[in-house]
Symmetry: C2
Subunit: 249 residues, 2 copies
C-alpha cells in the first residue's frame, strides 16, 4: 500500500509520501514515491505515485526518456509549457503503459497494473497547480472546494485533514498537519511505513523549498506521534460529557 497527500495553500504546495511497498506482508521494501524536477527560477514539478510499482517506475523513466541515449534525452516535464500539459502527458504515458501490460496478460477492465499519480508544481508566470492523474489517463485539478488530494490508504488520515486544513495556514503548519495524518495512518495500516518524504514548494520561488526525509529516529515526528494521543484525549475530554439521564430524553 501507499499513502501520499498533496495540498494547495495560499503560500504554496506541501507534499508528503510514505516509502513502503509490499507484495504480501513478507515482501516489503523501501521505494521512493516522490520525485522532483526543477529548473531553479523557472519551474518545479513534483510527482507522487501509488499503485503498481513497475507501472509508476515506467512512467517516470519514459518522462525522462530513458529509452534514449543520455545525451539525446529530452525531459518531458521540463519542456512542457504548462502544468496542464505536464498532467496530460503523464496521463497519456500511464494509460499506454497500463494498457500494454494488461493486453499482454489478457486482463480486461480496470484490473492489475493500475496506478495513480499526484502532480504538483509551478511554472514561472503561472499559478501553483495540483492534479490527480487516474490510471485511465484523465485527471482532475484541486480547487478551493477540494484543495488536497490523497492516494493509496486514504481513509484513516482523512478526518484530521478535513478538520485541520485551512488555506491560509503556514507551510510549516501544513507539514505538521500532514505528519498527524500520516501518524494516524501508520498506526492503523502496517503496509504504510516510515520513512516519509516531505517536499514544500513555496509560491513563486520556482524551486524546491524545504525537503526532509522523516526516518525512525526523527525526534520531531516522534514528538508529534507521542503527543497526539494525549492531545486527542484532552480534546475528547474538553467536549461536554454525555449523560444517560438527559432532560430531552
Amino acid at each position: 500500500m501507499t499513502y501520499c497527500v498533496g495540498m494547495v495553500l495560499e503560500k504554496g504546495l506541501v507534499l508528503m509520501s510514505d516509502t513502503r511497498t509490499n507484495s504480501g506482508v513478507d515482501n516489503i521494501s523501501v521505494f521512493r514515491k516522490m520525485f522532483t524536477w526543477q529548473v531553479p527560477g523557472e519551474r518545479i514539478i513534483t510527482l507522487m505515485t501509488a499503485g503498481n510499482l513497475a507501472t509508476t517506475q515506467a512512467v517516470i523513466s519514459q518522462l525522462e526518456e530513458r529509452t534514449k541515449e543520455p545525451d539525446e534525452r529530452d525531459n518531458i516535464l521540463l519542456k512542457s509549457p504548462t502544468m496542464f500539459q505536464v498532467a496530460t502527458e503523464i496521463g497519456r504515458l500511464m494509460r499506454g503503459i497500463i494498457s500494454e501490460r494488461q493486453d499482454a496478460n489478457g486482463v480486461k477492465g480496470r484490473g492489475r497494473f493500475t496506478a495513480s499519480i499526484i502532480v504538483a508544481g509551478q511554472i514561472k508566470g503561472m499559478e501553483p497547480r495540483l492534479f490527480m492523474v487516474y490510471p485511465e489517463g484523465n485527471f482532475i485539478e484541486a480547487s478551493l472546494d477540494t484543495p488536497f488530494f490523497q492516494i493509496g490508504e486514504t481513509k484513516y488520515g482523512r478526518p484530521i485533514i478535513l478538520r485541520g486544513y485551512d488555506r491560509q495556514m503556514s507551510l510549516e503548519d501544513a507539514a505538521k498537519l500532514l505528519m498527524v495524518s500520516f501518524d494516524s495512518t501508520l498506526k492503523a495500516n502496517l503496509s504504510v511505513g516510515l520513512p516519509l518524504d516531505l517536499q514544500v514548494i513555496e509560491r513563486d520561488t520556482y524551486e524546491a523549498g524545504h525537503q526532509h526525509r522523516i526516518g525512525h529516529d526523527d525526534s520531531y515526528f516522534a514528538a508529534i506521534s507521542d503527543g497526539w494521543g494525549d492531545a486527542l484525549k484532552n480534546a475528547f475530554h474538553s467536549l461536554p460529557d454525555y449523560s444517560f439521564y438527559r432532560p430531552d430524553d
Copy 2:
C-alpha cells in the same frame, strides 16, 4: 454502507450503529441495524448487522423462527445456554442463507449476499461477551488486546477509538467516544447516515441499559459534532510547531 461498533469495557458493553442502507446513491433508506432481545434478570443479547440487507433480515427472522406459527416459535437467542452458542448458531444460519442465495445465482467464492454480524451480550452467571461473526460462519471474540469490533465503513472512525479507548472508562465516556468516531465517519462517507442507535449493556444487570436514537435534532450529538472540529484544532496547535530550520537537519 454501514458503520457499527461494539466495545467491551470493564463496566459492560457499548454498541452503536447507523441506519442508512443504500443501493446506489439514489436509493437510500433507513433500516435499523441493531436488534436487542432480553429476558430481564437472565440475559440480554444485541446484534448489529452489516452487508446484504436481505441476508441479515433473513438471519434475524430465522433466529426468531418466524417461518413457524407465532405460538410454535422458539427464539434461538433466548434458549442458547451460552453466548458462544449464540454466536455459533448465528454463524451457522448466516452461512446457510448466503450459500443458498449464491448457489441459486451461480455465484462462486466470497461474493454478493455476504454480511457480518457483531454479537454482544451477557447471560447470567457468565461474563459479558462480544463476537464478530463472518459470512463464512466462523467468528472471533474480543479480548484485552482487541477490545472492540467495527463493521462496515471502519477506517475513518478508527484512529480516534485507537487513541481514546480505555477499558476502565465510564460507559458514558464510551458512548461519547463512539459519537466522535461516528461523526468523523458521517463527515467522510455519505453512505453512513443518521439516525444512530446507541445501546448500553451494564455488566451484571442482564437487561437493556441506556438506549437512545440519535436523530438530526439531537442537541448533544450536534454539540459533539460542532465542538470536535475546534477541539481537534486546539489539539493540533498544542503540539510543538514544525520549523523548516531545525538543529538536527
